[in-house]
Symmetry: C2
Subunit: 204 residues, 2 copies
DNA sequence: CCCTTTTCACCTAGGTGGTAAGAT
DNA sequence: ATCTTACCACCTAGGTGAAAAGGG
């Protein structure tokens, strides 16, 4: 994924379909990102692969992205696919513009994973001792006590929530694409990059 | 205001600054429109004025527009000006696309007034016997019982809310502008109509 | 040298009133 | 005759990767 100072959307967007919620209970849905390890990577063009190259910067505080519809009833969340298309990735440690979200310090080459959470919110980032998680898993949200709106929610943490992560959502965070095939895949599939397409439609 | 089948934004946007709320309580903010009378109007070009011309269609059920940030804490509402810029006016009696909102039946010439409400929501339209209100007033919201999210809120009505209306927010709903000076005012002030401006900037 | 930031042309997405055609 | 709809050119607003410029 491209990461910028102003914040860049993920593509494709992280989307989930929820089931098993209490239709009448209120839920807050949120997402954060966990480094798969504490290494820094470098792309080796000759072998077309990522090579470990030193340690990553010390654990960034790790921010949390609340789904804008939070809080909402379980019935509302389950009605249709929940899309985190407003989420943006940034490498700016300061600037916390509204929905702009997490990424680690300087190096643009850490492996990340979308993690969806629930509950009061809070510093949902796992303590460094938990890293790296062997296999990212996806967990699902639970009902919460009612007074939970954004800010207020951030007090409660690590209680009454389930976390889910998906291995297939791993990605490399970069400030510029390293692999030309990734670039072409994005150009071919992201509507906003249509201006860079040439010729043959949709072989993806 | 122009009113279309697909829904048209108001311009200028209805905005309010709130004070006196309980910072920690949850509030739902909503808005609806009340005909100033039950007459139908026709624009007389020769006198440049609106003339009453028969009765309006029977009271349309009158829909309600919930501010998208609802519910939120009083502190959140008071932090900055609350803008209803997502609100749209429509003359389509059926089609209730998300945020699209009220307007009466056929005639595009009724006088309306933005009315902001609070509480469970519900059929906030006043019964016909209350029409026309002599002078539209603006009322302010009150704290509500917690489980209030959109749909669920619509059960509760006429309880625990205050209504405010402003005389200066009266307008004529039309399907096409009748008064050329209104057209020019909109073109001069609405950024999206910049394409129709010619020459001199901002004499408004 | 490698990585990041800035700027840009080119898109998507959607809000304007004008205009002509349609509806009653 | 009057009101409404559908379509249009022209905007705002913002999401793309490319390319050039900047920084350690």
């Amino acid at each position: 994924m491209i990461v910028t100072k102003a914040g860049r959307r993920m593509f494709p967007t992280f989307q989930v379909k929820l089931s098993g919620l209490d239709p009448l209970a209120d839920y807050v849905l949120l997402m954060d990102f966990i480094p798969l390890d504490d290494k820094r990577y470098r792309y080796a063009f000759h072998s077309s692969s990522w090579l470990a190259a030193g340690r990553a910067d010390p654990a960034a505080p790790g921010r949390v992205h609340f789904h804008p519809d939070s809080p909402a009833k379980g019935a509302q969340w389950m009605r249709q696919i929940v899309s985190f298309d407003k989420l943006k990735l940034t490498n700016n440690l300061l600037d916390d513009n509204g929905h702009v979200r997490t990424r680690p310090p300087g190096a643009g080459t850490l492996t990340y994973l979308g993690r969806m959470e629930r509950g009061g919110g809070g510093p949902a980032h796992l303590p460094p001792s938990h890293l790296p998680p062997p296999h990212p898993q996806l967990h699902a949200p639970l009902p919460a006590p009612l007074p939970c709106r954004r800010r207020d929610s951030e007090r409660f943490a690590h209680q009454n929530f389930k976390t889910f992560s998906f291995p297939e959502t791993q990605f490399m965070a970069v400030t510029a694409y390293q692999n030309h095939r990734i670039t072409q895949l994005k150009i071919a599939s992201n509507p906003f990059a249509k201006g860079f397409r040439d010729g043959d439609p949709e072989p993806w």
